[in-house]
């Protein structure tokens, strides 16, 4: 059977749901967007226009959970990367929008640039466990007013897997849609293919900002999926217990579902979470800790409770450098999310609480993902794996190297063959210069960056995107 984890009983899931309904009705949720408040008021929420707090009744939650799609395909520019959700396997997103990047050549940690972003997503293309890209770092060298467009479109240009990112203002929407049309062909293709989605973080506790919210409401016309990612931290922006922080995060996710389903019933959503844990000594937001992944894995289960495609933050670390702490934290924050069968784990490639992109880490994390998948697959007792006849045939004192089944199994999913882990004999390893996983990852990164671009955009589309960005730079920077 598969190796799985049970993190919330059915009763506990129901309690979290019931508590969340109390939060939504008794405390309410603050929406800074007037458009959002109007939608909620018209649908039956009780809105205080002064405080901008909407108290959301249970019936709205039930109604909108019904219209939210229970499955859809996360499309990709290269359709062989299309990812149907829910998925029988856990796959990964790139970690996103760090402030910093570590320069691959010099090792210097500095604010990220478009070039770092481009390199990061090219490496992500080679990470076979990755299905959803996300601009791994912010582009500090892009113009302010149009920066998210540069980030979004650079990602879509250099990575043909599904792309997820954010827009910050409704004025960025027309440019984004124009670029999607340029890539997909027309409006219908944009709606049907769903090659890009947007990530939406409600602001904890229990708030929604105005401009991002309005931008995403506008994108509803194109059925752009939304990845909902509440981020309450235990003890600061959320209560100081895992259970109650899950309740609050769930209430924040539900309030997002209510809003976006009211605005456009049937719009695809992914239920996710990036709840954090407070470092009580510094006030810092921690991700690479058991208390984080217990929450996000539990919330992935809540996503299933509602029948929605889900994602859980994992494979993350608060370490300031690659190495022992980073790997320990990444493994412990990946495995529980995998063992509860999250559709997506977000995300790979960064350390320092998702604030530092390291290209080699993308491939190291991909290896962690494989190891965790193998654990999750567990002990397969199906007839194909039942080799009792071989035991009897070989009998005492023989070996199994000549058995046909050994040859078959050696190249099957029964045994994961690592891409980076070092398994040579000691002498061979010495002779190779004592490489470790990071050295091997560096080699591969160099290889990837020196190779021709995978799935480049057609020249005409590329030029069109250049033009869209030029226009956005001119118009949006002028508005700043």
């Amino acid at each position: 059977m598969k190796l799985t984890a049970e993190i919330l009983s059915r009763d506990e899931q129901q309690r979290i749901h019931d508590h969340s309904l109390r939060v939504l009705w008794e405390a309410g949720v603050q929406f800074h967007s007037l458009k959002a408040l109007k939608l909620l008021a018209e649908a039956g929420a009780t809105v205080d226009w002064e405080t901008k707090i909407a108290r959301i009744p249970e019936k709205l939650v039930i109604q909108t959970l019904e219209t939210a799609p229970k499955s859809f395909v996360l499309g990709a520019r290269n359709s062989s990367y299309d990812y149907p959700m829910p998925s029988p396997h856990t796959r990964y997103t790139m970690d996103g929008t760090s402030a910093f990047a570590t320069d691959f050549e010099t090792g210097e940690r500095r604010y990220g640039t478009l070039k770092d972003l481009e390199r990061g997503v090219r490496v992500f293309m080679a990470a076979d466990m990755g299905v959803m890209c996300w601009p791994p770092c912010c582009a500090s060298d892009a113009p302010d007013g149009s920066r998210p467009l540069h980030e979004f479109l650079t990602m879509l240009r250099f990575c043909s897997k599904h792309g997820n990112h954010e827009l910050h203002h409704p004025n960025q929407v027309p440019y984004f849609v124009a670029a999607l049309k340029a890539i997909c062909g027309d409006d219908d293709a944009v709606r049907q293919r769903k090659i890009a989605s947007v990530v939406y973080c409600p602001v904890a506790p229990l708030m929604h900002d105005a401009e991002m919210c309005d931008a995403y409401l506008d994108l509803g016309a194109y059925d752009v999926p939304i990845l909902i990612l509440p981020m309450p931290a235990t003890g600061t922006t959320g209560p100081a217990s895992l259970f109650s922080n899950i309740v609050q995060g769930n209430a924040e996710a539900l309030s997002s579902i209510v809003l976006y389903q009211l605005a456009r019933p049937g719009r695809p959503l992914i239920y996710g979470s990036a709840s954090g844990s407070l470092d009580f000594a510094s006030g810092g937001f921690l991700t690479g800790v058991p208390e984080m992944v217990l929450q996000t894995a539990a919330m992935a289960v809540m996503g299933r409770f509602y029948g929605l495609p889900n994602t859980a933050t994992g494979c993350v670390s608060d370490a300031k450098a690659t190495g022992i702490q980073a790997v320990i934290e990444k493994v412990i924050t990946t495995l529980p999310a995998v063992l509860v069968s999250a559709d997506l784990v977000s995300g790979i490639g960064e350390i320092e609480t998702s604030q530092n992109l390291i290209l080699e880490q993308v491939l190291i994390d991909n290896e962690i993902a494989h190891f965790c998948e193998r654990l999750h697959q567990g002990v397969d007792t199906s007839p194909q794996k039942d080799l009792i006849e071989d035991i009897i045939h070989v009998g005492p004192g023989g070996n199994f190297l000549k058995a046909r089944s050994t040859r078959v199994m050696a190249r099957s999913d029964e045994f994961y063959i690592p891409q980076l882990a070092v398994r040579q004999s000691y002498e061979n390893w010495l002779a190779l210069g004592s490489p470790d996983m990071r050295d091997r990852a560096r080699e591969k990164v160099r290889e990837i960056l020196n190779s021709p671009l995978v799935d480049p955009l057609p020249e005409v589309v590329s030029r069109e995107i250049d033009e869209i960005l030029r226009e956005a730079d001119k118009e949006l920077s002028a508005e700043e």
Partner: protein
């Protein structure tokens, strides 16, 4: 007896015991103790100790916040009497504080405000989503020494630069010192945009603010 009372006041801050801090402040008033004496000899040593213990990792953030709150509650009790006596705490300086426009993250900024207040600054907290012009208007109105601008997002930290640029454009950059902070903000960023001060946390912010108003030490 007074020494014992001061000790209890200090302890109420260390324990973050709001009710006790309030009760002791009222008791001091009944005893006719000068509020300034009570603040400086009772509550302030508690705040200083909490700050030191937090800096070396021995006290935790909620303990720091609750110590600051206990101090604020005590000061609020003393305020009418201080007004009657015409006395006031020695102000280290006036600080206008806000989270920048487009950003509604509040905690870090509020914590800095609490710590600055507890340490003797006069803080004018404008809340979140505050435009550059509002920060400057308020600084002019109250004749501030410092403007503190907080940003949690890489997308909003640019407004800290807008603040510095606007102050320069209006010829006010010599008059108001600018402190910046927030998750993506670094010393390098502060230097790059021409801000005068940066700190990673609220305790550090107090030290930076003191340095900027020439009251370090």
């Amino acid at each position: 007896m007074i020494e014992g009372l001061y000790q209890q006041m200090k302890q109420s801050v260390l324990d973050g015991d709001y009710e006790l801090a309030e009760t002791l402040a009222k008791k001091a008033l009944e005893l006719g103790i000068d509020p300034l004496e009570a603040i400086n000899n009772g509550y302030m040593p508690g705040v200083n100790e909490v700050g030191q213990l937090f800096s070396c990792g021995e006290m935790f953030l909620p303990e720091l916040v609750q110590a600051g709150e206990a101090m604020k509650i005590a000061i609020a009790i003393f305020e009418p009497e201080m007004a009657r006596r015409g006395s006031q705490r020695e102000s280290l300086g006036k600080v206008v504080l806000g989270t920048v426009e487009g950003d509604i993250h509040e905690i870090g900024k509020t914590l800095v405000g609490t710590m600055l207040t507890a340490n003797g600054f006069e803080v004018f907290d404008l809340g979140v989503d505050v435009s550059v012009s509002r920060l400057i208007e308020k600084a002019l109105e109250v004749n501030a020494d410092l403007i503190g601008a907080s940003a949690l997002l890489t997308t909003t930290m640019i407004k800290q630069k807008s603040l510095v640029d606007e102050l320069k454009a209006e010829g006010l950059d010599k008059r108001f010192k600018v402190m910046v902070g927030g998750a993506p903000v670094t010393q390098e960023w502060a230097q790059r945009i021409g801000a005068h001060g940066y700190s990673e946390d609220a305790i550090g912010a107090v030290a930076v603010a003191k340095r900027l108003v020439g009251k370090a030490g």
